[in-house]
Subunit: 428 residues, 3 copies
């Protein structure tokens, strides 16, 4: 396969202005302030920790950002093979004029200082957005986020619902819900009402998705109000639910969310397959893993019950990708969504990207999202994806099917940008 | 890897005359009569429906074939990336002199009419067979198929047994069995007798395989006659079986089929892993999906109990392919069989084909079957496979091991044709 | 991708002197004496049997080695596509000056005799080690192996513990334990004591790993001494344990082994996912298969409980590789280890190798082990791996990331050799 062909397609794909349909950006502090904001990304802390750096050295209370970077740099040598390290290097190259092969104990401080200087520019955030050709960024907002003080046409609210579905028995969550909605959750009716208020708030602020991450064994089914009423009442009284009761409440809340998505025509992003707190002594956000034994068959009742709700689906286990391809090929309301977390490495993206392009309607594929915490990450992550997409377009379409390059680019543009606009439409 | 080398191998593979060891061809109407026969293939209706075309528009009672094609054409733009669409285009190119890049609302009607004209030729079926280099076509026959009125040396009967194993409690199935065998199924002994009569009928008409598709959780084990006797009697009386009872009957019938395969030396094709009616509102034949959590370990008792029965095995989940490779490497009676349904796309075939060529005795691999409903599909589907096979032979054998091209072609010929003849021998 | 680049990297990788971190070598007869020692390797006997050679022809009591080879040669034609056959041919080429394309009934005898002649050289073992650039070979020793009579700096003892964990209820195993330790196992305390003695013995003889293979459904958790005490006592009395009791004993012994690994800082090799005796009529060592439905989540308690024990992990199912990558990326004490058995074929190694290089700290990857029974196998097996590694280094690092070749080679050297030394350190 001609490298020139691939390079031309990469160039074309690089010119597309992006909407990033899933991130963890804080819109009040979207860009980094120091290199510590970048290297504090959990991928680096967890990889360094996995290679031997003690958690206490990373998470020491009151640790100075520069000292934190210094400590992490000492372990970069162990992870420089990883694709995550290649993102770091690419950010340093593109944003901070760093042109060394490696970040080392000898050169990091100059880099740190230069980066810090650049980041003090009043328009740093705008610079990053421009250089990254990033037009809109979807957020991950807590259900009680006031959604104020930022430009919601650039930073698009999305209602994240893990707390509601899985932690409603925690007093803190119940209090936040009460605060946000002026509404208790002592009965099914009250809870449905509260959820309705959250949706109203989010819709008013231009929300374009509801989102949740789900454990491998979750199976959504409808639950009668009369089944959860006594449990919700008991929770109100401070009693711990039994595992069965907790599962019923989770299912009830989840189903209620889907009903509100239907009512508001809001897509419901499902991120399927994560087990939380598997490695209990891991660094912040570096404790989660998965069980590959999960199936989309668990969602059959959901997909059948809500034909009008679009479900953009991410799977954590790469072995789930074929199910995702097949379910998207069959169910009109199931859509493939990006390459999530442990599946977000080139060896897996390549296979997953090709299989989706080969078997899912082209209008039903959201190519990629960055999942980033700081704006600088969009550039290297999307670039990794663009390279892989270009390679798939070259081999399977231009060469394999004799398509013209411009036709292959139509497909690339759809997957990278067009579908995001259509699948997450602006609220009416 | 040199493209010329691959192209030479493709040319060689294209010259091999085929036996297609699994199809759904109706021998009384093997070729298409209009483009609606081709575009009515469930792959197209389900993909168009998945992309947004309403089922009622596709399955409207009394819908004119031309109007049906017109409606589907309107949605082809959404699925032209798929490999299934590429088959359609290739059929139109090869059979109907269509040389546009796309089938569109502007050009489809000319295509439709030209195709219809060609298909009226009295020797259309023969033309398709010749052009596709297709010598024999295995069928999928209902157990009560009279198997008469067609040339069974060209269209080879295969006894499909899903109804017997999974739907024996349905009155319609019981009546068909009674009609076909003159025999009730009110006891285990009667049922075994009836199955014996079906096998006798099929063997007399040159059947070369017994076949069945199985859900992911099926686990064949022997069941005592005394266990199913009361259930069969109750079924006779019109009582619905409990889930446990239904499972016992399924297992009993399945085991009985295997016993008859042993007696008649008939291979037993197992197509493992499909869940039926997952998407209840889907189009005809577009409702089935799967659960990747299945294992060939569920078949250990079967494989051990019937050393003389050859089991050509297809798996629906791509993640099952390694088990299939390993079980075929160990069990003399397990054979790899084609690339089924949701695994029948290039990204998965490539990996599956290579792993089989690398680790399963070359005499135990059936490379491909078309699974087609209409004859025209053999050409593009086998061509897709031939390209992938040529690429694997080039990279892993000619280049990787220094084999001569003619030696690589011996392997290709075996996998594509020779093994089909040996594994499904002509009845004695 | 330039083949010259790959070839240069292969050359460089070929020059690295190896430590083979997992084999089944008998240090008292490490090299082969005839071609029957090589072709008696279970891969060949099971593939030939799978292709049609009867077990009784292979395992006939008192069968002459030459006659055995003769019988196997008759079936080589059916398996010459396999990568295992390519190892055989490569051994014959490298060690026995065999330069035919195939081993056939016409040429095998000359080959057999020439090989036998070469193998009689008094320094044959040394010749093989030298030609294979093999410096150290880790063994798989029964727990009651005296570990004497061989050079333990060349042939490194490793304590294999399957018998202790899974077969302690067998009188023969209990007797061997008593013999080896002078200690019964009639109570938890006694058993812990006996295990301590085994570790002391192995550590004194320079052991560098404890190792075990585990079935797909094994889940290690701690078990109270008081729970197993009555079971151990009953075993002493000759009673068969119930499945639950047996599982508790297995878990107790396993946990005790992990505790001793922690005490002695010995890595604990886990080889996860094999079901024994699935094909009961299979040839010797050719009866085992697997169930892909397994997960490393089953080991969460173990990994959390023993942060100081390094667990080099091999997985049998290729679908488990992503979990292995992810768990190694998160848990400091989890390390990737080679490509085991049914995953040890190029199509799977390629994907697994690339994903590990892309996402696991480079210091936490043991690239390959031969798993060999006879020394001659290290050369072709490691060569297969080196080719794949060279290809991954070329595509993903030299080309994909612009690394220099020498830098890519640093990574190759680490994975192939450096990490073995660091992860299995010499005892203090």
């Amino acid at each position: 396969m001609s490298q020139q062909l691939v390079d031309r397609l990469i160039q074309e794909l690089e010119s597309i202005v992006l909407i990033d349909p899933h991130t963890h950006i804080n819109p009040h502090a979207a860009a980094s302030k120091t290199l510590a904001d970048i290297m504090g990304y959990h991928y680096y802390t967890e990889l360094a920790h996995s290679a031997g750096l003690e958690r206490s050295r990373i998470e020491e209370p009151g640790l100075d950002p520069k000292e934190k970077v210094c400590r992490l740099v000492g372990w970069l040598g162990t992870i420089e093979n990883t694709v995550q390290y290649s993102w770091l290097l690419e950010m340093c190259r593109e944003f901070f004029d760093f042109h060394e092969e490696r970040i080392t104990p000898a050169n990091w401080e100059t880099l740190y200082d230069r980066a810090a200087a650049k980041m003090t520019a009043s328009d740093w955030e705008a610079q990053v957005l421009r250089k990254s050709r990033l037009e809109q960024v979807f957020l991950t907002n807590d259900f009680d986020d006031p959604l104020s003080g930022f430009d919601t046409t650039r930073y698009v609210p999305c209602l994240r619902t893990d707390d509601l579905v899985f932690h409603l028995s925690k007093p803190a969550v119940r209090e936040r819900l009460l605060e946000a909605t002026g509404q208790g959750a002592g009965s099914a009716a009250q809870l449905v009402d509260a959820v309705g208020k959250l949706f109203a708030h989010f819709m008013k602020r231009g929300a374009r998705a509801c989102a949740i991450s789900l454990p491998p064994d979750f199976e959504p089914v409808p639950v009668e109000r009369s089944t959860v009423d006594p449990v919700l009442k008991a929770l109100e009284g401070g009693r711990e639910p039994s595992p069965d009761e907790a599962r019923n409440v989770s299912r009830f809340v989840f189903w209620t969310l889907a009903e509100h998505c239907a009512e508001h025509r809001l897509p419901f992003d499902l991120m399927i397959g994560v087990n939380r707190r598997v490695y209990e002594e891991g660094v912040h956000q570096g404790q989660d893993l998965f069980d590959q034994r999960t199936s989309l068959i668990q969602y059959r009742r959901l997909f059948n019950a809500f034909p009008r709700v679009t479900f953009p689906i991410s799977v954590l286990a790469q072995v789930s990708n074929q199910e995702l391809v097949s379910y998207s090929w069959i169910f009109p309301n199931v859509v493939t969504n990006g390459h999530w977390w442990y599946s977000n490495i080139p060896a897996y993206i390549e296979l997953d990207c090709r299989s989706r392009l080969q078997a899912v309607p082209q209008t039903k594929q959201i190519g990629y999202y960055s999942d980033m915490y700081k704006l600088e990450f969009a550039l290297p992550k999307f670039r990794m994806y663009r390279r892989i997409l270009a390679s798939a377009l070259a081999s399977d379409f231009v060469i394999g099917r004799g398509w013209s390059e411009s036709r292959a680019m139509e497909l690339g543009r759809l997957v990278l940008r067009g579908n995001v606009e259509r699948i997450f439409p602006l609220p009416r």
